[in-house]
């Protein structure tokens, strides 16, 4: 019996390629939302322990990113936005990316469990599993609801942060989860409206590809109408002060106004691009205000 072994060229990947594999921009959003979850949780966590927890969550998110790039290398190569990623570019072999992702995933989960608590480690493990297996391997290529359900993975970090600080879950982190969960569809569908051809070429059933642009614009508006009140919820429920409330109301109104413009726009994609860009600022502002609110010791709540 003869076995053919493919000749493997020695790697030309540098550390930068591996950092790129961890999706640093996604990672920064994950770390930021996890930090807010960790910081607004009741009780006190030593800054060193908080830093260690955030490091584990960041590495876990990087692991999920690497495993996503490993599995999606074939479709990444077909899309302009992703063709320059390390695997399609030929810098990292798919197997190396898979091994890198699995190693980081195992390492981050076990370290978080040993150093902080096993509940948050279990949540981190579930998040990585959900993103890689449920979203990347299953939903992304099979249903137009891919990013709606898959968005749960991106919404979990504040809950992991909260769990790291308290060892449990409460209503507040669930509200934070819901905000990111309902933010994801308008955010990605706004992008997919002006990247539709990319998704068609790659054969990904994004909503504009499957149901058309008009239906996508309608659903963007529907999700934004749920999102805006949810954004105000932390203030209405008494978890955040007036400062947060004002920012949430104003930015939520802008989100709805932009979604309405997307609803009526036809040929050019200016409104979609604006909504995509503003949605990032919107989420950042909400979470930053929660942080500010907590840092000022609920000073702003005096006026609530």
């Amino acid at each position: 019996m003869s076995v053919t072994v493919a000749r493997v060229e020695p790697s030309i990947a540098g550390a930068g390629d591996y950092i790129e594999l961890m999706k640093p921009r996604v990672m920064s959003l994950v770390v930021f939302t996890a930090l807010v979850g960790l910081y607004v949780a009741p009780g006190h966590i030593h800054p060193v322990m908080a830093g260690a927890a955030l490091l584990c969550i960041a590495v876990g998110a990087g692991a999920a990113g690497a495993l996503n790039m490993w599995y999606d290398a074939d479709i990444d190569a077909k899309m302009a936005r992703t063709a320059g990623r390390p695997i399609p570019r030929g810098h990292i072999a798919p197997g190396d990316a898979a091994a890198f992702g699995m190693t980081l995933a195992a390492f981050s989960i076990v370290t978080l469990g040993v150093l902080i608590n096993w509940f948050s480690a279990a949540l981190l493990a579930f998040t990585i599993f959900f993103y890689v297996v449920i979203y990347t391997m299953w939903l992304k290529r099979s249903t137009a609801q891919n990013i709606v359900i898959g968005g749960a993975a991106g919404a979990l970090p504040p809950m992991i942060g909260w769990a790291a600080a308290t060892g449990s879950i409460a209503v507040e982190p669930i509200v934070l989860f819901l905000i990111i969960f309902f933010w994801t569809p308008p955010h990605f569908w706004a992008l997919s409206l002006y990247r539709t051809e990319d998704y068609v070429r790659a054969g990904i059933p994004m909503l504009p590809v499957v149901a058309g642009a008009t239906e996508t614009r309608r659903q963007i508006l529907l999700y934004t109408l749920i999102l805006a009140p949810l954004g105000v919820a932390p203030w209405l429920l008494g978890y955040a002060g007036l400062g947060y409330g004002v920012v949430a109301v104003v930015t939520g109104a802008i989100m709805i106004a932009l979604a309405l413009r997307v609803r009526t726009e036809r040929e050019d994609h200016n409104a979609s691009k604006q909504l995509f860009a503003f949605s990032i600022l919107y989420l950042f502002l909400l979470f930053a205000m929660l942080l500010v609110d907590r840092m000022t010791g609920g000073l702003s709540s005096l006026f609530a």
Binding site: P10, I12, G14, A15, H46, V48, M49, L55, L115
Partner: protein, 56 residues
Amino acid sequence: MSDMQKPEPGIRLTEQQLRARRNRSIAIALALGAFVVVIFLVTLVKLGGNVLTRPM
């Protein structure tokens, strides 16, 4: 033994591959070093003043 003329067996890395390997090695060393520092600091925080307390 005069094997001066024989080419060395094995894979000969190009300049780019050598540079990439060195780059990766340094990154792994830094990551391991950072991991050691994290474990050290967490141990200090967890044990606190009890670090000197041990059964005799």
